[in-house]
């Protein structure tokens, strides 16, 4: 039995008595884990929330926009408490080539008041707040502690976790694995058997300090309003994308990129961020920003078809650990899915404890609740989107083609007369070697996914 967590962990078989140290152990105090612990504690059961970092959020990195509506079910008037930097009232999608940028820019003041839509927040603030909510309901947060493997009874049911504390075995009636993208516990439990693995994207980010008034001016916002820019075409043909988000007095600028694509192009991730910061459409926004923190993290990007089994005997998997993150170009949502899944996992554990059956059958309500909610409904609907958005056409051909099309439309070439639109489209498609057939097929995939 290795005493450290990693890809090589194995379970320990213990002689389990029906007596357990606690009702539920939740591994990982990210959004999924804290939501799960909150629901279990609220129902009056004992629950320990294990976190390997010294404080919640210390190991976690994201872009950073949280979509908070899922919190309606957990915390009344959550927007009055959540540690928010800015409320997103302006959302832009930018497609670029090294010298061009075409932006669809949307803003609405409907998102500037309760119940809002997206909010920027730092993970250390957000994760700390969420874990604090669980603690207030009676969950016991145990930081600086790694779950290094699973405990099983002789029949294979999961009956607890081993930790790296002295006397660190902790038995429980239900273990909820919310340990994030590397998902070592679910792998150890065999939940990924027969599933495609390795569908991860690397995210790297710089947090850049700028005075609040400068951000307000450059991004055209006031008060606590903020901006979210998602970018396609900024990763030199390696599948991925970029982002710029406004915090109160800093910006989050980064790229997400297929890590398998870097060596082939002899590129490093921080070079792609530097590229983005130099781009003529981005440089004026980030100019002079002082680097506060450089950070990186993996993202599960495979979507629905790469999700593991979610329920085992005495075992549930939620959040990034179950690949529930939606990472598809202009969408980068994982915190909301993690919160939703964690909440349902907590409720399923409570259902099972109530009837005294924490087997796979007793815990089955988890899958049902997920199926009926946005968590799996959205993922099922969008299952083909990762492939579409990360494909070569969406990554390289379309951004270049659309930018050229826009340039063709706006370019005044007197004394040449203006070209007709159809002709311009046909000419641009041809120049970029794009077949109408592919455009139609991609459009259909898009319509089927989003229609």
């Amino acid at each position: 039995m290795p005493e450290h967590a990693g890809p090589g962990t194995t379970s320990t078989v213990v002689a389990a008595t029906p007596q357990r140290a606690v009702d539920v152990v939740v591994v990982g105090a990210g959004p999924a884990g804290s939501a799960a612990a909150l629901e279990v504690a609220r129902a009056g059961h004992s629950v320990v929330l294990l976190e390997r970092g010294p404080y919640p959020g210390s190991k976690n990195v994201y872009g950073g926009v949280v979509y908070g509506r899922v919190l309606d079910e957990l915390v009344p008037r959550w927007w009055e408490q959540m540690p928010v930097q800015r409320w997103v009232t302006r959302r832009s999608t930018m497609i670029m080539t090294p010298t061009q940028a075409l932006t669809v820019d949307f803003r609405t003041q409907a998102w500037a008041g309760p119940p809002y839509n997206g909010a920027t927040a730092h993970r250390s603030d957000l994760d700390g707040w969420l874990a604090g909510l669980a603690e207030k309901e009676g969950a016991v947060l145990v930081p600086s502690t790694v779950a290094t493997g699973l405990l099983r009874d002789t029949a294979g049911a999961i009956v607890g976790v081993r930790t790296d504390r002295p006397d660190g075995d902790l038995t429980a009636k239900v273990v909820i694995a919310c340990d994030g993208v590397n998902s070592f516990l679910a792998k150890e439990a065999g939940m990924f058997a027969g599933k495609p693995t390795g569908h991860v994207t690397l995210g790297v980010k710089e947090t850049l300090r700028l005075p609040r008034s400068v951000i307000d001016e450059r991004f055209g916002v006031a008060g606590q309003d903020g901006v979210d820019i998602e970018i396609l075409g900024c990763t030199r043909g390696i599948p991925g994308g970029g982002f710029v988000y406004t915090n109160l007095d800093s910006l989050s600028v980064g790229v997400v990129v297929d890590p398998h694509g870097l060596a082939g192009k002899r590129l490093r991730p921080e070079e792609l961020v530097a590229d983005l910061k130099r781009h003529p459409a981005i440089e004026p926004l980030v100019r002079g920003g002082e680097l506060l923190e450089y950070s990186a993290h993996l993202i599960p990007e495979g979507g629905y078809d790469t999700m593991p089994e979610l329920v085992g005997d005495g075992f549930l998997v939620a959040g990034d650990a179950a690949a529930m993150c939606l990472a598809a170009g202009i969408w980068l949502e994982g915190v909301n899915f993690a919160l939703g899944a964690g909440m349902y996992a907590g409720r399923a554990a409570v259902d099972a404890l109530k009837v005294g059956d924490t087997s796979k059958t007793g815990l089955a309500s988890y899958r049902r609740m997920l199926d009926e909610s946005f968590v799996l409904a959205d993922h099922r609907k969008l299952r083909r989107v990762p492939g579409l958005v990360l494909g070569q056409r969406m990554q390289e051909s379309y951004p270049a083609m659309l930018c050229d099309l826009a340039q063709g439309l706006f370019h005044v070439d007197n004394p040449q007369p203006k070209p007709g639109l159809l002709k311009l489209v046909r000419r641009t498609l041809k120049r970029h070697g794009i077949r109408t057939r592919d455009v139609v097929s991609d459009a259909l995939t898009g319509v089927r996914s989003f229609g």
Binding site: V146, A263, R268
Partner: protein, 96 residues
């Protein structure tokens, strides 16, 4: 136009680490010497894999983000032994 991209050390100096005694990741140079892709050299966001003149890899675990990218991209059987650092050690992001 010139652009001030701080050197990579300046990037890493913005991150806090509670360095543990135990190296939580180790590299087996026997395997790396016959690796043709050296994906780790390009993909590790903390730039911890440095190729050496004899075709091996110099690796220092101390400023690791614990992201998992290296073991995901490495195709060398047994090249990496990969674990999380023990509780409380390793990277501690302040913003994230």
């Amino acid at each position: 136009m010139t652009y001030d991209q701080p050197a990579f050390d300046d990037h890493m100096s913005t991150v806090d680490f509670e360095v543990a005694r135990r190296p939580h990741i180790t590299v087996n140079n026997e395997v790396c010497r016959s690796c043709r892709t050296t994906d780790c050299v390009y993909a590790c966001p903390a730039k911890l894999f440095v190729p050496t003149s004899d075709g091996g890899i110099l690796f220092n675990y101390e400023q690791c983000f614990e992201c998992g990218t290296c073991y995901q991209v490495c195709s060398g059987q047994g090249a990496l032994s990969w674990t999380y650092p023990d509780g409380g050690h390793g990277v501690a992001f302040r913003k994230g």
